[in-house]
Amino acid sequence: MIVRALGLIAGAALVLLPLAGVPYTTTLLLPAFGYAVALLGLNLLFGSTGLLSFGHALFIALGGYTAAALTGRFGVRSLELVLLAAALVAALVAVPIGLLCVRYVKIYFGMLTLAFGMLFYSFLYKFYALTGGDEGMRVLRPMLLGRPLEHLDTVAYLTGPFYYYALGVLVVAALVMRRLVGSPFGLSLRSIRENAAKAESLGIGVRRCRLAAFVVAAVFGAIGGVLLVVPTGLADPLLAYWTHSGNLVFMLLLGGFDHFLGPVLGALVFILLQDSVMSLTSYWRFVFGAILAVIVIFFPRGLMGLLDARRAAAS
């Protein structure tokens, strides 16, 4: 009940925020929406399947660069087409990488995903003619639902139509993921996480399911990546860097990976916390490190776990 009530209040606040006349806070939340979509996918891989990727930023970057290439070089300005293309590209890239990675579990899986992430980072950094190297590629403002919205300045575009568009994508992504988690496929993934040998003895195709989860996570990552680069107008190699993947894991642990909405909460709190701490001290990474240590030691189920514990205590 508490979680549901807080969720409704938070949802209403997110819908009403652009009307409150606080454009700074409104634009601040835009990356949180992108990260939340990516984390919903990452959590299917970790929370449901038990595979922790340290290279998931690869797919965020893939989404970002797909948006940059389509809007900047090929003149495709429809955000719906960009999102669809990013999802397709991510799926195509994820299949061969996933085929290699899901042969391994635990730290070996994590290290292999990290390796692919760094390979992609190097590719983006070194292939200047194709990717713009360290300068990255510009992302032009896309049309939303066929509307150019050229009469709006950037702030009005981002805090108005794009804000609600991104929030809408997040809601749709959350509903799709909720359906996936509650489906037979979702149960198969959880059985694999709990005991892969037992799942296999009951007829579950373990590698096939792990690969499917990897590809779905990649698609969500790329969609999140598109939402991330539209506000900044830039796709750069740091999107694929390993510290970016580390931030994703941080957000997941912060929000809590054993609750469906944990990743969304993690993304929102991470972005707001980062902004607050960065405005107070230049040693914000130090503060974040301490927070991560406290979470892992004292609250392994993350913020959502805390809310759930309160619910359990209240009932």
């Binding site: 489906s183 496929f185 198969s188 059985s191 005991n195 037992k198 003895s201 007829g203 195709g205 499917a212």
Partner: protein, 261 residues
């Protein structure tokens, strides 16, 4: 008549160690077959080979007339062969209902449906309820598997294999790790469940000789990776070589004393 399950001259070696040395075995419909032997005789290796977990070094394994050597447990489960493990093997965080649903979905070929609502699948629900009732787990459906008593964990392990509605079920020590008082209950439960669910043959590896001689139609005695005897319980009791090499205990008045071989 084609055997349900047949192993022919199966060998399995690990480096220089020969775990199975030309084992041949046949299981027909309606049989309850026990595999016995001292530690290191190759019993678990044989079950692993029969269930596709381990490919044999040589030899042939046929299930319902199809060569299944090394095809892997998932495919074999879908073909109609289930197994339970020596140590309790469960999904600790999943509920009893979800554990049984994993098997039911697999049998119904619905395991990978990504957008179907599991909670509204009446076929799965009915299958879960049926198996849970047969194994006395119906009042614990929502409990996490890890919170069950040890005997119930073992029952859940076996019940999930039965939920596949297999033609043949192979059980590696189905009563290991449970109290003596629970052993008979578990065996009666699973024999009853096998009849109700149309399981055509049961193969078990078992150390408890009361269980072996009380339930088996046929006993296969393994010793040092070879079949020492393959006969009815009465014939096994009368075989001095088997008694000496495999059972390792004295028999009195035609009845094997309880205890581990």
């Amino acid at each position: 008549m084609t055997a349900l399950l047949e192993a022919t001259d199966v060998r399995k070696s690990y480096g220089d160690t020969l775990a199975l040395d030309g084992v041949s075995l046949r299981v027909d419909a309606g049989e309850f077959v026990s595999i016995i032997g001292p530690n290191g005789a190759g019993k678990t290796t044989l079950v692993n080979v029969l269930t596709g977990l381990t490919p044999p070094s040589s030899g042939r394994v046929r299930f319902k007339g199809t060569d299944v050597a090394g095809v892997g447990p998932a495919r074999l489960a879908r073909l109609g062969m289930a197994r339970s493990f020596q140590l309790v093997t469960i999904f600790p965080a999943l509920s009893v209902a979800d554990t049984l649903a994993v098997a039911a979905l697999s049998r119904l070929r619905r395991s990978t449906r990504p957008f179907a609502a599991l909670s509204r699948d009446a076929d799965v629900r009915a299958a879960v309820d049926e198996v849970a009732a047969l194994f006395g787990l119906h009042d614990k459906l929502e409990r996490a598997a890890r919170t069950l008593p040890q005997g119930d964990k073992k029952l859940l392990d076996v019940a999930s294999a039965f939920a596949l509605r297999p033609d043949v079920i192979l059980m590696d020590e189905p009563t290991s790790g449970v109290s003596t008082a629970d052993k008979t209950t578990i065996m009666q439960t699973l024999v009853h469940a096998a009849q109700r669910m149309g399981v055509r043959a049961i193969v078990q590896v078992e150390h408890d000789m009361d269980i072996v001689f009380g339930y088996s139609d046929r006993i296969v005695a393994l010793h040092q990776g070879r079949v020492l005897a393959d006969a009815t319980p009465d014939a096994i009791r009368a075989d001095a070589d088997v008694v000496r090499a495999v059972l390792g205990i004295a028999t009195t008045q035609g009845r094997t004393q309880p205890g581990r071989a």
